[in-house]
Symmetry: C2
Subunit: 141 residues, 2 copies
């Protein structure tokens, strides 16, 4: 049965590997992060430290919230705040040897899940799109 085939897939077979994943560095200012997010078109991306270890997730919403002043948008502030200060460090992650089902379960509440190694090294991401493609295949057989 096709759905049984999916159940044997591992995260490492499903993930977009790190070199293809847009990210920002935790020490960079929000202004830089916002430009990366606009240029790549992504609503949120992983945050890594200078040793390429995973630290959290930064989104356009979070950055824009910081720019909201009393009367208007105050984009100048964004040069003075680092990504690390506003990123979300508290997100679920996966390991490369986790399963399709582990990924499916976590992707119910998150558009993508980061894959990290034993030393927090950033390996890649699993996206909802990848899971949905596999599920769609299993319904067509």
């Amino acid at each position: 049965l096709e759905s049984e085939k999916n159940e044997t897939l591992l995260v490492k077979d499903l993930m977009i590997s790190s070199e293809k994943v847009a990210h920002v560095q935790s020490g960079n200012p929000l202004e830089h992060a916002l430009l990366v997010l606009i240029k790549t078109g992504y609503s949120s991306v992983p945050v890594l430290n200078s040793r390429f270890q995973f630290e959290g997730i930064i989104s356009k919403t979070k950055i824009l919230e910081e720019s909201l002043g009393l009367e208007q948008f105050e984009m100048n502030r964004l040069g003075d705040i680092s990504v690390r200060e506003v990123m979300d460090p508290d997100v679920p992650c996966l390991k490369k040897n986790h399963t399709f089902i582990d990924a499916l379960h976590k992707l119910i509440d998150h558009p993508f899940i980061c894959v990290i190694g034993d030393n927090d090294e950033f390996d890649g991401i699993v996206t909802r799109r990848e899971i949905l493609k596999n599920v769609s295949k299993s319904y067509h057989e």
Copy 2:
């Protein structure tokens, strides 16, 4: 088989109905739309006209692209541009009597799909989260 149960679900059983969907009006300025997107936390929402008919989708990325000046962000422009001028009017939609499989297929490339009636009236949206919840249930039985 659980996966067969999913195949009989219709879009009307899966959708978030219109009164629960955040949206903006096509005649409103981008500045208003951006505030709605930040306040609700959504990366993009449906655009409706004054008769509650579906017209397109507006995203934070699209609005922020409009604010990018030569040297910096120029948020003042956003008061002068209407949602209709920059929204994406060219998105796939579904009808209430379409199936789970129709929705699954369109959600491979879109985080949500708008559901519209015969007269373009806006009925609701189907989200990836809703499909993934159903798929996850079918793997646990």
